[in-house]
């Protein structure tokens, strides 16, 4: 292999060497991004002229939503890599991604709820985006439960891969249907959260927080994939009686 390609990491041993080298640096970067992101979000960013201080919830809420959706796309990509190319590492990485995506979705939902209370006067709004996120959360839970539901781990890997692929095709349809449902039922008084343009003083902390969430996602996925490699090695050892 002269050219670096996506197959670079196909070999678990090579992946482990790669992740062992990169994890400390990535961990430091993640911590730095979170520290500066939280600092900017809580202290530097000005209160919004309409929403006041509650706009600060956006900095933990919106990046969680972004990366939770992106992580599902990654999950589907890994599912395809497993089913089509039989990529040995894809299954283990999918196991690593799913709980992180679910946690991000949960953070998005709960922080959205704490945002809704002062903004909308209620803890939960059946707003199109919150409802889609709730369904995404359930899709993650289904993926996690299915991948762990078999005595044979590889069966769980492949079943979950099929589910992720069907889920990613269906997700836009679910999103569309929820939007459709929402326009039928939406009370007109609900205030829209996103203005036409975001001011740079708000955008910069948002982007730093988005980078922090991404760094944490990558860090956790590498760490957990490494764990899954070890776990699979233990399983094989137990089966072969070595």
């Amino acid at each position: 292999m002269a050219m670096p390609s996506i197959h670079f990491l196909a070999n678990p041993a090579r992946f482990q060497r790669f992740s062992a080298r990169i994890l400390p640096w990535l961990g430091a970067l993640t911590a730095l991004l979170w520290a500066s992101g939280l600092y900017m979000a809580l202290l530097v960013a000005p209160p919004d002229y309409q929403q006041g201080e509650t706009v600060r919830i956006m900095f933990v809420h919106v990046p969680a939503a972004w990366w939770s959706m992106a992580a599902y796309a990654l999950l589907a990509g890994l599912g395809a890599a497993l089913l089509v190319w039989r990529h040995p590492l894809a299954a283990l990485m999918a196991r690593a991604v799913a709980p992180v995506g679910a946690a991000y979705a949960l953070v998005c939902l709960v922080s959205g709820s704490f945002w809704g209370r002062p903004m909308w006067g209620t803890w939960w709004v059946w707003d199109a985006r919150l409802t889609s996120m709730l369904l995404l959360f359930f899709l993650y839970l289904g993926h996690i439960a299915l991948s762990r539901a078999f005595d044979d781990s590889e069966r769980g890997d492949r079943a979950a891969a099929v589910l992720a692929l069907v889920g990613v095709v269906n997700l836009p349809v679910i999103k569309f249907s929820v939007d459709w449902w929402n326009t039928l039922h939406q009370p007109a008084s609900v205030m829209k959260l996103d203005g036409p343009a975001i001011h740079p003083s708000i955008l910069t902390p948002l982007l730093v927080m988005a980078a922090a969430y991404l760094a944490l996602l990558v860090f956790l996925v590498l760490l957990r994939t490494e764990t899954e490699i070890g776990r699979r090695r233990l399983e094989t050892a137990a089966l072969t009686g070595r």
Partner: protein, 56 residues
């Protein structure tokens, strides 16, 4: 400091929102680190770790 904590009267919503993010993601981080440590310990116990290293 009191002003920072009360967040213009909305502290009761802002702090729990940040709290859940830190708790959920921090919890996931700790869980992941402990899981890795446990697996590595087991690999070492069975000598699988060393053999893997020798193979390199």
């Amino acid at each position: 400091m009191g002003g920072f904590l009360s967040m213009g009267g909305h502290g009761a919503y802002i702090w729990p929102a940040y709290g859940i993010a830190v708790a959920a993601l921090g919890g996931l981080l700790i869980w992941s680190l402990r899981a890795r440590a446990k697996v590595q310990r087991e690999l070492q116990d069975r000598g699988l770790d060393r053999r893997a290293r020798e193979r390199r």
